[in-house]
């Protein structure tokens, strides 16, 4: 069915509806990645956002829910150029359209995504709407589009109860012919346990909308990971005596998480090793007195070059963030910038001086995206090892 994508600036893009037929208003952001539409849809950092895929042909291999980044898709909409409908897949992959219908997420295809992206690049990220049909009152729509806000989405996407993943747990299972499609009724992502992986570390993870592959990266590296709701008090977490704390990625403006800043402060002040990713990185920065700002159109893709200043090496990273730590506001008594974006020089990593804390703005877990920066997980664990050595 014909429909339109309307942007806050009044521009209108014609297309065809797919997925859920409902109307949607959300913030429109674009991702330049070539692969990984499922990982993007299920990344909770996209809660409240519609994802515009720069890569033109989407849905080519269907959906393997085992490879999701959370137990459900969180993005509010999917905007593509050309949707592929799957036929007779030997692995019983689910058609992307069916998947979106099942999860009541609207999509629109046939969009001139490049024009749309250039608009956002020039004017900055803005809200938008996907109409139900071809009848719409532009003025009324624009009022509603303009009014749209996405307050503290973290509260919405975070776990409500704690959950522990055993060491050796692994997901992203490759479905082979004959294997059945896992049940996917808003329950947990299926995973298996590799008994050969022994438990050596106990990690506490604060879930701001975490990507599952962060967990798999840790459980593969001999970690038992307990995931806590975003607003869990620090003393509850510390009472479990974790070897390290991870602050996950998550959606929205970091300032919205103001209420839990004292928790974060309490965590690192306890002396526990802390590793923050994305929103986690921003929250530690806020807790230590730095400021964040919104980027014009964000960094969303899997080709972002980041320089590790200490190693003098450039790594290609997976990124998904609309906000960034303003490096001028980082007190160099408190922390130093460890990683910068090669293209725009923005702050991509901080190492703290008084506390055993290091954080990065990008996604070392990839999914989607390069695995080049997984060394950061190793660094996290070797810091724990060192810490143990010192304490012994």
């Amino acid at each position: 069915m014909k429909a339109y994508l309307i942007l806050d600036d009044g521009s209108v893009f014609p297309g065809e509806r797919f997925g859920s037929p409902k109307e949607v208003i959300c913030e429109m952001v674009f991702n330049t990645g070539l692969t990984g539409y499922l990982e993007l849809l299920t990344d909770a950092s996209y809660a409240g956002q519609g994802i515009i895929m720069a890569s033109p042909i989407i849905g080519n291999y269907g959906v393997f829910t085992e490879q999701s980044e959370s137990d459900r898709p969180w993005a509010d909409a999917l905007i593509v150029r050309d949707l592929t409908n799957l036929i007779g897949d030997v692995r019983d992959s689910e058609d992307l359209n069916d998947y979106l219908i099942r999860h009541d997420i609207p999509g629109i295809s046939g969009i001139d995504t490049r024009s749309l992206i250039l608009t956002l690049r020039e004017k900055g990220t803005m809200n938008g709407m996907i109409t139900v049909g071809t009848d719409y009152d532009l003025k009324a729509c624009l009022t509603r589009i303009h009014a749209y806000t996405n307050p503290c989405p973290v509260a919405r996407v975070s776990r409500k109860t704690a959950k522990t993943y055993e060491s050796g747990a692994f997901g992203r299972i490759n479905r082979e012919p004959g294997m059945s499609r896992p049940l996917d009724i808003l329950n947990e992502i299926p995973y298996e346990i590799d008994p050969a992986v022994t438990a050596k570390y106990k990690i506490a993870m604060l879930d701001f909308g975490l990507k599952q592959n962060i967990i798999w990266n840790l459980t593969r590296r001999n970690c038992e990971v307990t995931v806590y709701p975003w607003d869990t008090p620090a003393d509850v977490i510390l009472a479990a005596k974790p070897d390290g704390v991870m602050l996950s990625n998550g959606p929205g403006d970091p300032v919205d998480c103001e209420p839990i800043i004292p928790n974060i402060r309490a965590l690192y002040e306890s002396g526990v090793i802390v590793f923050g990713i994305c929103l986690g990185h921003q929250l530690v920065a806020l807790a230590t007195g730095a400021k964040t700002r919104k980027l014009k159109y964000g960094h969303r893709g899997i080709n972002h070059p980041v320089k590790d200043l200490a190693a003098d090496r450039v790594y290609i990273t997976s990124q998904n963030h609309g906000y960034v730590v303003i490096d001028e506001t980082v007190d160099n008594q408190v922390a130093e910038v460890s990683h910068v974006h090669v293209n725009d020089g923005s702050c991509e990593g901080l190492r703290y001086k008084q506390y055993p804390v290091f954080t990065v703005q990008y996604h070392p877990e990839g999914a989607p995206g390069p695995q080049d920066s997984e060394y950061l997980f190793d660094e996290f664990l070797s810091r724990i090892d060192q810490n143990r050595g010192q304490n012994r």
Partner: protein, 1093 residues
């Protein structure tokens, strides 16, 4: 890391002549490398034997040596020039092999010449099968079960271990020469023999066949610090088994999940790190279609055809970046020229899809085996960019110039299901069309998948196109919704009209009424994330146009499309020079082309690049968008010239010779009338349509006659016919394809062929030089050894100048003109006039120092020849030099193609020999063409037709006196012995063992002299013998004229190390200084003395 300051003078080794597996991509890579090095302030010394390239232009390097690529030649130049750096990873396998040889023999170390880029150890690790496997084992990357073998018995033992079917891959070869998939021992023995012979190190890899896995490639770039990125992933339409050069390829990979994609990407980066790559590297994987399994197929530790494709597909200039890395820069220190604000250390993001389809020579070599396997057969390729797979495929198909506009092939539509299925199963050049035809008939995707293992993603997309074609052909009146959907799939107005039966005008006007106008999008490396400045565009039917018209005066230059036999890299050379001239003159130069391998499709060659098919519809759209002052169709070979009428009819001014002038040269009647007015002779002839007419014409003219279709390039379908039987056969074959134009039948004159290229301003002409063909008329000019200057009398020279001027004026030629003459009984006949650029333009341009294309372009834009410094008439009248062009063939890659030369062109490339003496120039040319001179005392097998026997006697005698062991088949041997030349009798195959074939097998014979029997039915054995010789790497001579030159070379006994290298600009200076001198009398060329006496 800043650039190296310890080196100053860098040698770049080019890839030599165009052969199958090594084409124009290395001109693109080498040109980028030379320019990058010069920009960094290094002195650049270039060696390459290929005169048709941009990289061998004198201004591309500080010194350009158009010399044979031979180790001793390269060493000598290195020492004389005192180079201290060597960049060899941009000259294909050829350049790399020389670098490895120079390294292995200690030459580089001895003379302290630094090998830039990937160190030799890394290259060896990537190229040597066993070292590579060991490396993969170290880093835990899976390889396909395999082993190396150095003899046939080892091959068989290994295959039994691994299990059939097995793939045979020769080590150190390009394009998989000599390899193949063997299902059993018999087949394996055959491939083992050819594979071992083809390998530089006599080694082959035997590996398990993993048919049905996806073939995925990554282009990786790594710097000396260890930063590594992948530029592009590519996925083959055909599963593993078809050489990637022969596969339809899409970029980026379409059917991989992120997990699969990243796993392969990480593996690619691990591999380039282990090899220590400093620069570019191609990594090929096989990915299991459903399991996590993958295997590393191979790497190319150098720039390759795939890296050229990746460069054009992404806009990322891999060759330039690899060069900068080679001189010391790190990836994050090299700016991204496309955006101007970002750096080379990022991975391009694509918001479109690219489809590449190979261009195979089977339309020329109708008898060649068309099946595709591990040995590459394509001569070139086309690429198309669009934002759906369907549209990119449709564009790529029409770029092939197969007279196809979609997936419908009439011949296949007529096949029975029974006949169609084998065509679907068999991987060959037309398989995709057979698959489409099957889908049209309702064969299911599952059925076809089962037989082909082509990913269902691609099959599904083919169904979309097939359905659209069906819907359009069922459309009685224009349906707007359908029209919209069809144009978005890149259906042209013409295709929609042809399918629906509506007129093109109706389709076009309705389309425009609906606002469906071509809009152009930019290739910007970053999917729109950053502002970019690349003027590199592809068409869509989208909302915004990113190529708005500028207010500058502009000219559109039509390119030459894919490299094919008869239309090679020289036309890209011409297009590029035309564009450069226009830019210098202040015009905005716009180029349209679809060949990803070339310099013309580099985004910084022109002011604007339209990467589009070259059909009337696509060109019309560009013209509507740009509204140029005019178009230039003279430089893009037949591709561009055949569009001249359509472009002219659009109301666009044609700069240069008009469409009418082109028609006058092509139309037999009009041309004859012009010749008559000018009082110029031509061989008698007529035009025919039917076999009856042809027989009638032949009987009037008298055999032998030359027959050919009109309006073709490269002598396609041309033959010399000696009798009625052959004439009937010829007409039968030629009329299998519907002929738009009549067939020309001409009296065949066996004389000396002379050729000129000239620039005409409509009044004056400038002929840089006259060339003479070594082989007598009848061998296609592109396959002849061409000698500059021609050795002709003053009278003939004047006639040629006079005829050229007359024809230029009569045809109203503005710009370039190529004429072929025959000197017969001391009289000059015109055989062909082409009012366009020709194959010889780059070569004659370089050796005379006259920028022919630049002059032609300026003349086309209104300048007069008298305004330039080169004068008019014949420029190099008596230059004291010889510049000899020799053809290069790719016969070893094309089974069932006859190696015998005739009027139909067969060569894929060419080389040049330059000297102040004839014999040295000839030796250089033949040496550079990879002719393997037989060693002293070796056996030479002779079997020639009766009419050649008397001419052979003298030549055979000279060979005998040189100490060669002569063998001949019955008739030839008897004739020789009777005339006093000792010659042993060799048995024909039917005469039992040891036969001629055995003598090749056992190494007795090192050269074959065989002239084709004029009656093709009697020549089966000759054909078999010639093929056998080629497949065993035995030098073969099929014309006694060629033999004359070879014998001369053997007598002079020159050695590569003795050859004096000439820098091309110095050579041109000698021409300029001596052009009015008389020929040096101490050196009487002997070319054609047999004919001229």
């Amino acid at each position: 890391m800043p650039k190296r300051t310890d080196i100053h003078k860098i040698m770049v080794i080019g890839s030599g002549p165009i052969v199958i597996g090594q084409a124009a991509e290395f001109d693109y890579a080498g040109t980028q490398a030379c320019r990058a090095l010069k920009a960094e302030g290094y002195e650049v010394i270039l060696v390459n034997s290929n005169p048709a390239t941009i990289m061998t232009d004198s201004n591309m390097a500080d010194k350009v040596f158009l010399e044979p690529l031979q180790t001793d030649v390269i060493k000598r130049i290195m020492l004389e020039e005192k180079v201290d750096g060597l960049l060899a990873t941009l000259g294909g396998q050829t350049g790399l092999n020389f670098a490895m040889e120079l390294d292995e023999c200690g030459f580089l170390a001895e003379h302290q010449i630094a090998m830039l880029g990937t160190p030799a150890a890394g290259i060896r690790m990537g190229e040597d099968r066993e070292e590579f496997r060991a490396a993969m084992l170290r880093i835990n990357e899976p390889c396909i079960p395999s082993g190396t073998a150095n003899n046939p018995e080892e091959c068989i033992r290994l295959a039994e271990e691994i299990g059939y079917p097995v793939i045979v891959r020769p080590a150190f070869t390009l394009g998989g020469t000599g390899g193949g998939i063997a299902a059993d021992e018999t087949a394996l023995r055959q491939f083992a023999a050819s594979g071992l012979a083809a390998s530089r190190v006599h080694q082959v890899l035997i590996e398990r066949s993993i048919a049905g896995w996806k073939e995925i490639e990554y282009e990786a770039v790594r710097d000396a610090k260890g930063n590594a990125i992948t530029i592009c992933s590519m996925e083959n339409f055909d599963p593993v088994g078809v050489h990637t050069g022969d596969s339809i390829v899409v970029a980026p990979a379409q059917t991989l999940t992120d997990m699969e994609y990243q796993k392969l990407r990480t593996a690619a980066l691990k591999i380039v790190a282990e090899l220590g790559i400093v620069g570019g590297c191609n990594v090929q994987f096989a990915q299991h279609p459903t399991q996590v399994d993958y295997a590393v197929i191979e790497v190319n530790p150098r720039l390759s055809r795939s890296s050229a494709l990746a460069s054009k597909a992404t806009g990322y200039p891999i060759a330039k970046v690899a060069t900068r890395i080679g001189v010391g820069y790190a990836l994050d220190e090299i700016p991204n020229e496309v955006t101007g604000t970002t750096f080379a250390s990022f991975e391009p993001a694509l918001d479109y899809i690219v489809t590449k389809i190979p261009k195979w020579p089977f339309d020329k070599f109708v008898k060649a085996r068309r099946t595709l396997g591990t040995q590459m057969k394509a001569t070139g390729e086309v690429m198309a960019i669009a934002n759906t797979f369907e549209a990119s495929l449709m564009k790529a198909i029409r770029s092939l110039e197969l007279n196809l506009m979609g997936l419908r092939v009439p011949l296949m539509m007529e096949m029975t299901d029974h006949d169609l299925w084998p065509r679907i199963k068999q991987a060959d050049d037309m398989r995709m069309f057979a698959v489409a035809e099957g889908l049209r008939r309702g064969f299911t995707i599952d059925e076809i998948y089962e037989k082909t293992l082509i990913d269902k993603f691609f099959l599904k997309k083919l169904v979309n196109i097939v359905n659209m074609e069906n819907a359009i052909s069922n459309m009685k009146v224009l349906d707007d919704t359908l029209l919209l959907a069809a144009v978005k799939m890149a259906f042209t107005d013409t295709w929609i009209a042809r399918l629906s039966g509506l007129t093109v005008e109706d389709v076009r006007s309705r389309r425009k009424e609906l606002g469906l106008i071509h809009t152009y999008k930019m290739v910007d490396t970053c999917a729109g994330e950053y502002r970019a400045v690349t003027p590199y565009f592809y068409s869509t039917f989208d909302m915004t146009n990113e190529a708005p018209r500028t207010d500058r005066k502009k000219v559109l230059v039509l390119g030459s499309g894919p490299i094919r036999i008869g239309q090679g890299i020289e036309f890209d050379y011409c297009s590029v020079h035309s564009v450069w001239a226009l830019r210098e003159m202040g015009y905005e130069a716009i180029i349209a082309n679809n060949n990803p391998e070339t310099v013309s499709t580099d985004y910084d060659t022109s002011d604007r690049l339209y990467f589009e098919p070259l059909t009337a519809d696509d060109v019309r759209a560009i013209i509507e968008n740009e509204q140029p002052e005019g178009a230039i169709c003279q430089f893009g070979g037949q591709t561009a010239i055949k569009l001249i009428k359509a472009v002219s009819d659009m109301g666009v001014k044609i700069f240069g010779t008009s469409a009418d002038g082109v028609d006058a040269a092509e139309d037999r009647k009009r041309f004859d009338a012009i010749l008559e007015t000018c009082q110029i002779k031509r061989p008698n002839g007529t035009t025919v349509k039917t076999a009856e007419d042809a027989l009638q014409a032949a009987s009037e003219l008298g055999y032998p006659v030359l027959v050919r279709p009109s309006y073709v390039l490269g002598g396609q379908g041309m033959a010399i016919v000696h009798n009625d039987g052959d004439m009937i056969e010829y007409m039968r074959i030629i009329n299998l394809v519907e002929q738009e134009n009549p067939i020309l039948v001409d009296k065949y004159l066996m004389g000396v062929e002379l050729e000129v290229d000239a620039v005409s301003d409509g009044h004056d002409i400038l002929i840089p030089g006259i060339m003479e063909h070594l082989e007598r008329a009848g061998v296609h000019s592109g396959d002849s050894i061409s000698i500059f200057p021609a050795y002709i009398s003053e009278r003939i020279r004047e006639i040629i100048i006079d005829y050229t001027r007359k024809l230029a004026v009569a045809l109203k030629v503005i710009g370039l003109l190529n004429i072929q003459f025959i000197l017969y009984n001391d009289d000059v006949y015109v055989i062909e006039v082409n009012p366009r650029s020709s194959r010889t333009v780059p070569y004659i341009s370089k050796v005379t120092g006259i920028p022919i294309v630049d002059l032609a372009t300026r003349v086309m834009m209104g300048a007069k020849l008298s305004e330039f410094e080169y004068g008019t008439g014949l420029y190099a009248r008596y230059p004291a030099v010889y510049a000899i062009k020799a053809p290069v063939f790719s016969f070893e890659k094309l089974h069932d193609v006859d190696t015998s030369l005739g009027p139909e062109m067969k060569s894929t490339g060419e080389v040049l020999g330059l000297s102040t003496t004839y014999s040295e120039a000839m030796y250089k040319a033949i040496l550079a063409s990879n002719f393997k001179f037989p060693p002293k005392g070796a056996g030479i097998l002779m079997t020639v037709r009766d009419s050649d026997k008397s001419d052979l006697v003298l030549l055979a005698d000279r060979l005998f006196n040189l100490g060669y062991e002569l063998y001949g088949t019955g008739g030839t041997a008897n004739y020789m012995n009777k005339h006093g030349v000792p010659c042993s009798i060799a048995r024909r195959v039917e005469e039992g063992h040891p036969s001629t074939i055995d003598m090749i097998d056992n190494g007795t014979v090192k050269m074959l002299i065989n002239t084709e029997n004029s009656n093709s039915n009697d020549d089966r054995e000759g054909f078999r013998l010639r093929r056998h010789a080629i497949e065993h790497g035995i030098a073969t001579i099929t014309s006694l004229d060629t033999l004359v030159a070879v014998v001369e070379c053997l007598e002079r006994d020159l050695k590569p190390g003795d050859l004096k290298p000439y820098e091309i600009s110095v050579f041109a200076d000698i021409v300029a200084q001596t052009r009015f001198n008389c020929l040096p009398l101490n050196e009487m060329p002997m070319q054609n003395d047999m004919l001229k006496k």
